[in-house]
Symmetry: none
Subunit: 161 residues, 4 copies
């Protein structure tokens, strides 16, 4: 037990690596997307609406990212015995006042088994949204693994300033 625990905080630079990975995948697919990156408290860090992406998906992309962050799991319906539980899925969406969405396309950003943020994608089908979110999460994970750990330390930050 302890009053404080060591933790990792997602930076704007880290958020942009995830954002760019997702944008690239959306361009390859030819489906313009709304893409949001939030920190582990669900607060927006970076956002891009690609030309042609739906206006109505801006809030949904942010909501998916927020939802995946504060629930520490991908967005989507609650499944029971292989089928979506409608009461639970929609009940959670209503009960959380839309802080949880039962629509797929939100994924946690994970490093060293810690959820440090999330990506939310909207404007295509659920499959397209999820594929683009996955590309963002994978680009983020690959870049994190390539980054020397000492770059994250408080000393390193102090030296920079």
């Amino acid at each position: 037990m302890a009053m404080l625990q060591d933790s990792l905080r997602l930076t704007l630079e880290g958020a942009r690596v995830a954002l760019e990975g997702a944008e690239r995948r959306a361009r390859e697919m030819g489906v313009p997307m709304d893409i949001a990156i939030v920190d582990d408290g669900g607060h927006l860090l970076a956002f891009a609406r690609q030309d042609g992406a739906k206006l109505g998906s801006v809030a949904i992309a942010i909501n998916k990212a927020h939802s995946a962050a504060i629930r520490r799991q991908p967005t989507g319906p609650v499944m029971e015995a292989g089928a979506p539980n409608l009461v639970l899925s929609l009940g959670l969406a209503i009960g959380s006042r839309a802080a949880q969405t039962p629509i797929r396309g939100g994924l946690p950003l994970v490093f060293a088994e810690q959820v440090v943020g999330a990506i939310g994608v909207s404007s295509g089908t659920e499959e397209q949204d999820t594929a683009v979110a996955l590309a963002g999460a994978e680009a983020f994970g690959a870049a994190c693994r390539a980054e020397p750990a000492e770059q994250r330390g408080f000393e390193a930050i102090e030296e920079d300033e």
Copy 2:
């Protein structure tokens, strides 16, 4: 008939007995939980988010407790012939502006057949949430029964002051 009736009011101390009973059960299960205790008007008295419990379940735990208190019954879907009635369950959630949730995990706190408050638990499955809420309600009931009645009396209060 009478203009006023004797009643029992849940205290912070009583709320904490329920909270601790629920926390203990969650630790035994290894599932960190968001746990809320409200009074008989549905107003928050005590809350704890155990380390690792979902951020997105904070509002849901409070909502479950609130819902169980103001409806004087456990939360959950409206059942008809053994199956949840979707329109009724979700319609009540929407129509009450989320003051009633169709998700299980909210239970009234009862003493001497009077609902004096409620407990709401969220972050696990509905079964886990309900088991933890039940442990809180049982710890509360056991402690109430063990308490000499004169400690609650109006005379006792006057003597104290």
Copy 3:
């Protein structure tokens, strides 16, 4: 620059140290209070409504804590040249959809120059609320300084389980 930065996360145990420090001060003052503790993302960790505290202050205490956390500063009116700027103070409250309150009684919880959470207190005057919040923040700071740093490490956490 880095994708992730080292950070500190407030635990339930740490939140309760702040809560108890505030409760103690409120009892000494004879003014029952609503007291909320949130993490650095503004999410509720612990809450207590002392017997006799106002029901209408539950949401305000939580709002003050949330506001102090997400703005990294005490709550209160925006001051200019020694006087409150009304347009700015109320404009921020409205524009943030009440995520910032211009009422005093919310204070950040700080360790090693990092805001790790916040405390919000309501039910008395602004001066009383602030005094109780300060007692909570001071109790938290004192306990943090007394805690060996190695208790916070990831290894220590793993060893506990």
Copy 4:
């Protein structure tokens, strides 16, 4: 009269030019900012929260941009005889359900006398927010003027098809 008029639409690339201009100015000032760019309908196109900027300013930056876009003018209090009119300033904020903010830091993005979008900045003082928004708007204007018109033209589009 005509049923349709030629118009200019802000792209993600254009939004990012404004965003980068604002980010650069904030770094020079040493004040991390929340920066939002919206199109002429007030819909979010691009957003960045610089490391250390307030979480509580995310919604305010977006609100300022939205407000400047849909009102085609800088955000700020309604002035009368050199002083802010409180009732009007706050009344508009409330009456518009926070779609108009009386806080400065939102500016239209203009080209060829057409408002094509807006920038909103928050996390510093009103003066700092406005200076950073201005840098973004100026970077946008300079890049627009430097861009050959035929890149935007309807002729160019028609030639492509």
